[in-house]
Symmetry: C2
Subunit: 337 residues, 2 copies
């Protein structure tokens, strides 16, 4: 980084103090219009670029939000980022995005980095394997507020924004029932994720309400990799009477499951209906896709998380006294085709 023009240079040239120049550039009310004009004119002529690193340092504030997400190839997260960025932009805040790639070790490294860089707040989607929350506890101690997003930690003492997981699962399952399915499987999310249980619960409730017995063999846990979905599907297909409707924890899983059928049981591809969480932009291009999606409104969820975070940033002092916030976003069922 070259040295560049500083307010000192400007002050020297105009025979003013640096205080005056600083105030003029910041539109301080105490400075006269002519002075402001002269300062701004020269700043412009000289291509003055304020050194934010110096401001951040001086003000103990970086005007930066950290975002930690598992993976940017997942459109759900990208939409959420866009929502958060919108709110951040309104507050003239920057956003730093970093990917954990679903690895808790990476996650810890990134949290540390964000801490060192003194972001003013953090929005985090924890990895599918994160169980140890100590890196985040530590964050609280040094006064950096965190809002968890989409995947709430099991420990309810943290603030989060998430979908109505149980309600959404209920709707997705019931839609399959309404389409006439009696044997309904569930591709369940990892045990390590709190929402896996919620979505399972919604599935169970839908069965119950519609007088369909719960069969534990119809629930297979997957870990969000293609292999595990393929394995679960092959288990399903081996059954005497395989499910004809499958509610997936997440629609990226449905896509893998559909992929599996195409490859191994092409005759079944039109006989099994899928529903699941996530109404993704890429569905537009698909011929074989879930019959219904739970719209998680990820853009709005991102906005909501950012709004909550800004509230915390503003109320920083009351950090230790304020009530924990758990925000739940309503989920809509979207039928495809």
């Amino acid at each position: 980084m070259k040295k560049g023009v500083t307010i000192k240079d400007i002050a020297l040239k105009l025979n003013m103090s640096v205080s005056t120049v600083s105030k003029a550039l910041n539109n301080d009310l105490s400075i006269s219009i002519p002075t402001k004009d002269r300062v701004k004119q020269l700043a412009n002529d000289w291509n003055y670029v304020p050194n934010e690193a110096a401001r951040h340092f001086k003000l103990c504030k970086t005007f930066t939000l950290g975002l930690i997400i598992p993976n940017m190839l997942d459109q759900f997260f990208v939409l959420a980022i866009n929502g958060a960025e919108k709110i951040a932009a309104m507050e003239k805040y920057n956003v730093i995005i970093s990917q954990s790639h679903e690895d808790p070790l990476n996650e810890e490294r990134i949290v540390d980095l964000m801490k060192r860089n003194r972001v003013d707040g953090l929005i985090v989607v924890i990895t599918k394997k994160t169980e140890d929350m100590s890196p985040f506890l530590n964050l609280k101690n040094i006064g950096i507020p965190v809002v968890f997003f989409a995947r709430p930690p099991k420990d309810d003492s943290f603030d989060y924004v998430t979908a109505d997981n149980e309600g959404g699962a209920f709707k997705a399952t019931e839609y399959l029932i309404k389409r006439g399915h009696k044997r309904i499987g569930h591709l369940m999310g990892p045990e390590s994720m709190a929402i896996s249980q919620k979505r399972l619960q919604g599935y169970k409730t839908a069965l119950q309400k519609n007088k369909i017995g719960f069969d534990p063999h119809l629930v297979k846990v997957v870990d969000l990799t293609e292999e595990s979905t393929f394995f679960a599907m092959s288990q399903f297909m081996k059954m005497k009477s395989p499910p004809t409707g499958i509610f997936a924890f997440k629609n990226y899983i449905s896509l893998d499951a559909i992929e599996f059928l195409k490859k191994k049981f092409p005759e079944m591809i039109d006989k099994v209906d899928f529903s699941g969480f996530g109404n993704l932009p890429l569905f537009r291009h698909l011929d074989h896709k879930p019959v219904a999606s739970i719209e998680e409104s990820s853009y709005e969820m991102g906005e909501e998380a950012a709004r909550l975070l800004f509230r915390f940033i503003r109320e920083e002092d009351s950090m230790n006294t304020r009530a924990v916030q758990h925000i739940q976003i309503h989920c809509k069922l979207v039928v495809h085709k």
Copy 2:
């Protein structure tokens, strides 16, 4: 941001000078092992978190790379980001990503922001409409190196990494010819983009080499929106003898074009073959997709761009004397199904 523990606090407690503490934490050779141990022990006990804002300020270096891309919903860019991030991580650099959403005004705002935040270097995919390069010239002046990526500016005085656009277009077009097509259309990229011409040229060369006359009616310019692709396709389909093979500037355009056929000319969907730039992860899930893609190796391109940028960051002094770098990445043809 709370005040937190500083090296001064540690120095006070241990009856040392701040210089010693600073050096101990930075593993300076001049400090004795026992001293280092005592310092590190206390730093650890007290949860000391170095204030990077202060370091950046002091060192006139932020260890941060800026990335400006049009849109994170485009997987091509996400892969490139991942490549650049990998290289940055190896150099212990952070990456700030910002989206221009294809709007030059946004782009200018972001460049300004990156300037103020004194990123050490910038990797930029300009918007499809960017013609005025002055925001970037300005960057050079204050000593922030920039590497353009994927979409080289028309002005060749900038450094960039791009695909072998002409060669790739040649291969994609020739593949359609090899499949027996005689009437081959081209969905050309925006005139404002330099690579649109290159890809058109590759298309023309492939026709020529294979003794197929060039028909200007078979070239339609699109602007990367669905509407413009739909319009171009409807023009094609109105022709007496519409093209049976179409080489698209970019495969997201192919997807829109396929969408158009599905909707308006379902009987044609299996009669028109597409090829184009971009071998995207999402193709995995598609039944109707281009018959071939030009693999742009975006991950590797991202790495390459970051490597080049680091070279510039290191050689900062010779900024004005060094030769302009134009790196071209070889493109492979990937046949689908």
